[in-house]
């Protein structure tokens, strides 16, 4: 399974809801919309979030926490799971 798919599984396991806006696959929890983006120039995965449906529809996403691939796949999954639980669940 690709890392991106594993990340999606983490979101779903934590009860984030999968939604599609403007053709983009997003995760939603407590009215906040999330996506994970890999930015090649930073060699990192980034959690991006929009604070409302309108912002998500207008592609107004802030960058949240960053996970360099240097953490390794297990490291990314563990850190991401911890952060989603600690900082992102319930807004």
């Amino acid at each position: 399974m690709e890392l991106q798919q594993k990340i999606e599984e983490i979101f779903l396991d934590l009860k984030f809801e999968k939604v599609v806006i403007n053709g983009d696959n997003l995760m939603m929890n407590s009215g906040i919309y999330y996506k994970i983006t890999f930015v090649k120039g930073l060699k990192s995965y980034i959690i991006e979030y929009a604070n409302s449906y309108d912002e998500a529809a207008n592609n107004v996403f802030e960058d949240g926490d960053i996970y360099p691939i240097s953490l390794g796949e297990v490291g990314i999954i563990n850190k991401l799971t911890d952060d989603l639980t600690k900082y992102y669940l319930n807004g």
Partner: protein, 209 residues
């Protein structure tokens, strides 16, 4: 000069002029030389070169208030940017100031609003986060801490990022970088028209894919 004394220099110290012709007439009336800064009467202080500011500061026709406005501007836009080293000997008697353009954040100096940054992101080149933060605050853009994740609500002064939303679909964000394995701070610009771009602190586009 009206409503925004910091941004405009009133050449006469009296009523403002609104057109090139009326300002030329005013110049002639005041007997100002062809080298006076009033050749460009509607020019804003923040559009003037260091040399022009220097000339005004050393002129005998600019009023004390006008010189004070320039000093105020220089204090905000040059000294903090590290581009100007000045020696001020008081506004009432004499003003002596040395201007060094090396290292000046000229790009920040030339920014004319957030849409200007969006259309010309190279203006962020070499602009330090604290300079941009101050610029945004001083110009009424009200930069806010990030609203989610581990940096949620963390003030910029305490190591957090900042962002400004405008126009419904636009955002300028400063991110201090990853907490893991080395910080790579960057700016993010996004709008419906331009899409999303990220730039490192040297103004280089960060490759997305």
């Amino acid at each position: 000069m009206e409503n925004n004394p910091l941004r405009y220099v009133d050449p006469s110290g009296h009523a403002p002029c609104y057109s090139e012709s009326s300002c030329k007439q005013l110049d002639e009336k005041l007997g100002l030389s062809s080298k006076s800064v009033y050749e460009t009467p509607t020019k804003r202080v923040d559009e003037m070169s260091p040399e022009e500011l220097w000339n005004i500061l050393n002129s005998d026709y600019a009023t004390r208030d006008e010189k004070a406005q320039i000093m105020n501007y220089i204090g905000v836009h040059y000294v903090l940017g590290g581009g100007l080293i000045g020696e001020v000997k008081g506004l009432t008697s004499s003003i002596k100031i040395g201007i060094f353009t090396k290292g000046t954040s000229n790009s920040l100096h030339s920014i004319k609003g957030l849409d200007d940054i969006l259309s010309e992101p190279s203006k962020l080149k070499g602009v330090k986060a604290d300079e941009l933060y101050k610029y945004l605050k001083d110009n009424g853009y009200n930069p806010q801490p990030l609203s989610g994740g581990s940096l949620k609500g963390k003030a910029f002064e305490d190591g957090g990022g900042f962002k400004v939303n405008w126009g419904g679909d636009r955002i300028l964000q400063y991110h201090p970088g990853s907490r893991h394995h080395g910080d790579v701070p960057y700016y993010k610009l996004s709008s419906g028209k331009t899409g999303t771009q990220r730039y490192d602190m040297k103004g280089n586009l960060i490759e997305h894919f």
